[in-house]
């Protein structure tokens, strides 16, 4: 085997470091963590910037992973495709849980609703496809944030918008919860957007494991929770639905 190319190894190390962090890093921090001279890191960083694999904050001058890299390899999946592929399993989830189901993707710092299945009780309901929801106050948003750490920065350091008395408005508290979401593989919004309403969500991943969307059930807290805790059975259904859709996404497109 030919000798590995040193600059590529170093570029990879930089990218790995940036992708593992939820906040931007300065040149000095990157150089320090990798034990490399600042001049070397600077040269490599310029090149990575020019191809869009990293992005630099114009004010602080700090770096993070670039959008070009995030879309690389993960065959970009739009909301219409996600809805088409998830149709049967979203129905399945609604039928199992007797609750309404929503599918969301990331859109300009919000959750864009790409699919909505009514609660299967024939009560009057209105299709919400196309509406935007806040990230920090919804279960889908938390799932997407937890699996795209660089996005948390976009929420800023200031206090987050309050919707109910339960909304998490402190970014530090949110960060702690997001770590837990990533660990457990699902998220809940316990009356954080609408009083009396709980939602439970899990990530939908594509072939590369990128979370391309989230699927959630929502309903009154008394149906979704026991003693203020999401019911295990419902969490399992949401996760199973998300897993099944993810498995299908590994297949050749329609």
């Amino acid at each position: 085997m030919p000798k590995p190319i040193q600059s590529i190894e170093r570029a990879s190390a930089i990218l790995r470091l940036l992708s593992g962090r939820t906040r931007r890093l300065s040149l000095a921090e990157v150089a320090g963590e990798l034990g490399l001279p600042k001049g070397t890191v600077y040269g490599i960083m310029r090149t990575l910037l020019s191809v869009g694999f990293v992005e630099q904050d114009p004010e602080s001058g700090k770096y993070r992973i670039g959008a070009a890299l995030l879309h690389l390899g993960s065959s970009y999946l739009d909301g219409n495709e996600l809805r088409t592929r998830a149709l049967n399993w979203a129905d399945w989830l609604a039928a199992r849980t007797n609750e309404s189901v929503r599918l969301g993707t990331l859109h300009d710092g919000h959750v864009l609703l790409v699919h909505h299945v009514f609660r299967p009780d024939n009560s009057p309901q209105v299709l919400e496809v196309g509406s935007l929801l806040p990230m920090h106050a919804t279960a889908m948003g938390k799932v997407l944030l937890a699996y795209h750490p660089y996005l948390t920065e976009e929420l800023g350091n200031g206090s987050l918008q309050r919707f109910t008395s339960c909304t998490i408005t402190d970014p530090k508290l949110l960060a702690i919860e997001l770590e837990q979401v990533q660990e457990q593989g699902w998220a809940a919004s316990l009356e954080e957007l609408i009083d009396g309403e709980t939602s439970l969500a899990a990530p939908i991943r594509d072939r590369q494991g990128v979370a391309v969307g989230a699927i959630a059930i929502s309903g009154p807290t008394e149906r979704l929770c026991d003693d203020a805790q999401p019911r295990n059975e419902l969490v399992s259904y949401v996760r199973e639905g998300a897993r099944t859709i993810s498995r299908d996404l590994g297949a050749v497109p329609w």
Binding site: D78, R83, T84, N88, D91, A95, V117, F118, N122, V126
Partner: protein
């Protein structure tokens, strides 16, 4: 736990879905098969490939659900209709590829059959106009396609069947068809529900090769091979299965299924009703010994198939769903109307001489407008068959029950509600074809006690309400009708 499985042997793919007692999907497996286009207007499938795929998806669905054949109380079959297979029962080999319902090779034959009598020559007996769509002329063409076939058919050495017969014969060894599939052949009498000698003689199909006509829901036999022992307990044409799966059990109930083509069916109760507005009359279902129910049908040949064509032949999109993304890059159709008369026009026109047209092209038009026109074509074609249905029944439809793969397209469903001027609703199981086949099979083995018990399983999953104003709707429809006029009389005798 006990479950019922449904095989949906469709035009583009074969699927197997497993359902529980509440009619909820438990697992699913699907496989596409090859579309063979030997010449313009000809479409074939390989029946052996389809049989292999069907067995594969049944095992696929069982595996996905962590089930075995022993967990199934029954299997029901729903199939693409009219598609014609002729095979040699000694070898089990088809003598020709299956001739698919979209295939137009029998155009000259159909015109000859209608020469002195017109297109409605057999309508009184079988409810259908002479058109390339139906099986009878396809069988006759096939028997004349190679020397000796007709003689062998007359002597009972060859068998004919639609996909249901081909599958049931291979699974159970019995040569049968269900009454809904038989009603699509042009060979069955709608009153007697038996093969009609006048039709057989006129179209040229020997009785010796025909399957026995049976109810849609009854135990046809036990499957052999790797499906060992499970009862095959239902067969229906896919559209009739969808009518059943939407629980349209009573006269006056209707649905439209959006797949490769789209098919609006209205249950007319226990009497066949002949259409005065270009619809066809067909059998809806026959559950065991109960009297058959009939339906009026508006058949649209090309809807999802246009999206597939746009994807595979034009290449402007990479997947069917991307048509919506592309269509949303513009606000309207840019003035163009796409009439996909690829196999002529079916209901309500029945014009074999029509071919596709994109009308209204100007230099302004972009690929986004094309994508929009592709989707709008499905909605305007629905509008035509809904108008015909309203005219025939004398009652205006107040909402449309829609199902099938294209209901995943939100832009289309909204536009459909807009041009119909009534709400469009989708049930919680979009795979109503499979659900209907499962219901019919489950009823045959007593898994469900009666049809009324199934109604409780129907739930609304989505509803699109009209937002377009009347003037805009009328203007669009006027343009659409002008575009349809421009497709007519395209095919010449020497084509």
């Amino acid at each position: 736990m006990e479950y019922v499985a449904a095989i949906d042997q469709g035009t583009s793919s074969s699927r197997c879905l497993v359902f529980d007692l509440q009619g909820r999907i438990v697992s699913l497996s699907q496989k596409e098969h090859e579309q063979i286009f030997p010449r313009p207007g000809w479409v074939e499938h390989d029946p052996r490939e389809i049989l292999r795929n069907v067995i594969e998806v049944v095992h696929g669905a069982l595996d996905t659900g962590g089930l075995t054949v022993r967990d199934l109380v029954a299997v029901g079959i729903a199939n693409q209709r009219e598609t014609t297979v002729v095979w040699d029962p000694r070898t089990g080999e088809p003598v020709h590829n299956a001739i698919v319902w979209q295939d137009t090779r029998t155009d000259a034959l159909c015109r000859k059959l209608g020469a002195e009598h017109g297109q409605d020559r057999f309508r009184d007996r079988c409810g259908l106009p002479l058109a390339t769509y139906f099986s009878g002329p396809k069988v006759s063409w096939l028997l004349d396609s190679a020397p000796g076939l007709r003689r062998r058919a007359e002597e009972g050495e060859l068998l004919f069947g639609t996909m249901d017969s081909w599958l049931v014969w291979n699974l159970t060894g019995r040569h049968v068809t269900d009454v809904t599939n038989a009603s699509r052949t042009m060979l069955m009498n709608l009153e007697t529900l038996d093969w009609d000698d006048t039709l057989l003689d006129a179209i040229g199909v020997p009785r010796a090769m025909l399957p026995a006509i049976q109810p849609s829901s009854q135990i046809y036999g036990e499957a052999g091979g790797s499906l060992g022992g499970v009862p095959i307990a239902a067969a229906l044409g896919d559209q009739q299965a969808a009518l059943f799966g939407q629980t349209c059990f009573s006269a006056g109930e209707a649905k439209c299924t959006y797949g490769t083509g789209s098919f609006l069916l209205l249950n007319t109760g226990n009497r066949p009703v002949l259409s005065g507005h270009g619809l066809i009359t067909t059998v809806g279902s026959k559950i065991g010994e109960a009297p058959a129910t009939y339906a009026l049908e508006g058949s649209i040949a090309v809807t999802g198939a246009l999206v597939q064509w746009f994807r595979d032949k034009v290449g402007l999109i990479g997947s069917a769903s991307e048509v919506e993304t592309l269509a949303r890059t513009v606000d309207d159709n840019g003035g163009i109307y796409f009439v996909p008369a690829f196999s002529g026009l079916f209901a309500p026109h029945w014009r074999g001489d029509a071919r596709g047209v994109i009308a209204g092209l100007t230099g302004y038009v972009t690929k986004g407008h094309l994508a929009r026109a592709v989707l709008e074509a499905t909605a305007w074609q629905t509008r035509e068959v809904v108008d015909a249905m309203n005219a025939d029944s004398g009652i205006a439809m107040t909402s449309l029950k829609a199902d099938g793969g294209m209901t995943a397209n939100n832009l289309l469903m909204q536009f459909l509600a807009d041009v119909l001027g009534v709400p469009v609703v989708r049930p919680n199981v979009a795979e109503t074809v499979s659900l209907g086949a499962a219901y019919a099979a489950g009823l045959a083995v007593g898994f469900w006690p009666d049809v009324e018990s199934l109604r409780a399983n129907w739930h609304k999953a989505a509803e699109w309400v009209p937002k377009m104003d009347q003037a805009e709707r009328d203007r669009g429809y006027r343009k659409w009708k002008k575009a349809v006029q421009r497709t007519l009389d395209w095919v010449d005798d020497d084509d």
